[in-house]
Symmetry: C2
Subunit: 243 residues, 2 copies
């Protein structure tokens, strides 16, 4: 579970062929910019075709919404609070690329996060990860896990290099995750700096084939035994299978 | 203009006495959690008093909104695009701690950002900054500047340590900013990882006394001449005076 290895500009699942940032700004313009990003100077001819959804506010193209309820492409196999409070029980998870304006019927919760630039990997690690990691969504990946976590105030008061020292030098987060690549794919989403009050700091979505289920448990056990995990004050582990 | 020295948990202007993260989650609950964070397990007795605004969605307590229009506590003295496209002209700026649900009458734009953990300072720098920096809002600070910037894709594709090397080792961003402390106060807001499509990555708000105006110009000139600023592909410089 290397936490910070997402490639925002290349090969990110859910991004391929998606609208560009500029396209979204143009969409904001087409929608009248009510959300405050409709800045006329952003628009150029030929981009307005990107705007199509008349009701949607312009969203960050890196935003994902995870809707816990009674519908969606993933059935819940198990859900447990590893640390801290649980989430209300659900039957299905729907993974949406983009925003969900309101809680759908029968859905007790929505979690949101954005993929972002890496915070911890150094160049050699990044290059190795880019070479080895797989995108989510391979057909053989019948199992998935959604693991939202929150880190405590002590973690966030550390400086960058102090966090890196715990994350990798002491906890081997990147090295542990690397061992399971490319079999276990994952995408990290950041929630802490969203405008809403979010209950978690990170959401990681994993997928893998059935024969990797015990390897996945090993990966999580290694991370949860690490120094880094002493700073995790809430973690929910939701296991999923294709509905 | 040390970019990453905001203390989210102590002494941040606009935060004093503000509701805690937990308080906001409770507010979400009180409001029915329509925005997806109303998770019952978050609530504890005695916290519900924090919820008071019946129409507001639960917001990140670190969120600020900058409303450009015809009202607000700051009058625009000048506004120019330093790099890239300008923002539509405004007369006044209103600085709101929290969210603005829609564009107010006569306001062509709203920019948003959240204060966050530091990304670049090392421990000695952080300790020195905490000791020297002042909070925004001192009575003698009659002047202010709002400077939103965006960095290009090349910047965001760098690793953390590559960004740090440019930010400080080559550009002396922290050291330059330190020279002007405590006379020039500033607060950095992050926009890149919001759920909306935001036109800038960062917004920095500065304030200072009138006799510091030329020092402030010197500070900006030094930063704009740096290696780091080669990655800035949009920058708007809005100078303000108390209305």
């Amino acid at each position: 579970m290397p936490e910070e290895t997402h490639e925002p500009t290349s090969g990110a699942p859910g991004h391929e062929g998606g609208p560009s940032r500029r396209g979204f700004l143009t969409e904001a313009l087409a929608l009248g910019g009510a959300a405050g990003v409709g800045i006329a100077a952003e628009a150029t001819a030929g981009e307005t075709a990107a705007a199509a959804k008349p009701t949607a506010a312009p969203v960050n193209p890196r935003l994902f919404s995870f809707v816990g309820g009674s519908r969606g492409g993933w059935s819940v196999v198990s859900a447990k609070a590893v640390v801290g409070d649980p989430l209300p029980a659900i039957e299905r998870l729907e993974i949406v690329s983009g925003a969900v304006p309101a809680l759908p019927e029968g859905a007790p919760w929505v979690l949101r996060g954005v993929t972002s630039n890496e915070r911890y990997v150094v160049r050699a690690e990044k290059d190795a990860l880019v070479k080895r990691q797989a995108a989510l969504g391979r057909p053989e990946c019948a199992l998935a896990a959604l693991i939202p976590i929150r880190k405590n105030a002590k973690w966030w008061a550390l400086t960058q290099e102090e966090r890196r020292a715990i994350f990798e030098d002491k906890s081997k987060h990147i090295a542990i995750g690397m061992k399971y690549l490319p079999a276990i794919a994952r995408r990290l989403h950041h929630c802490r700096d969203l405008a809403g009050a979010e209950p978690f700091d990170f959401i990681t979505l994993f997928d893998y084939a059935k024969d990797q289920a015990s390897a996945f448990d090993d990966l999580l056990a290694a991370l949860r035994a690490s120094e880094e995990w002493k700073y995790v004050d809430r973690e929910v582990d939701i296991r999923l299978t294709r509905a």
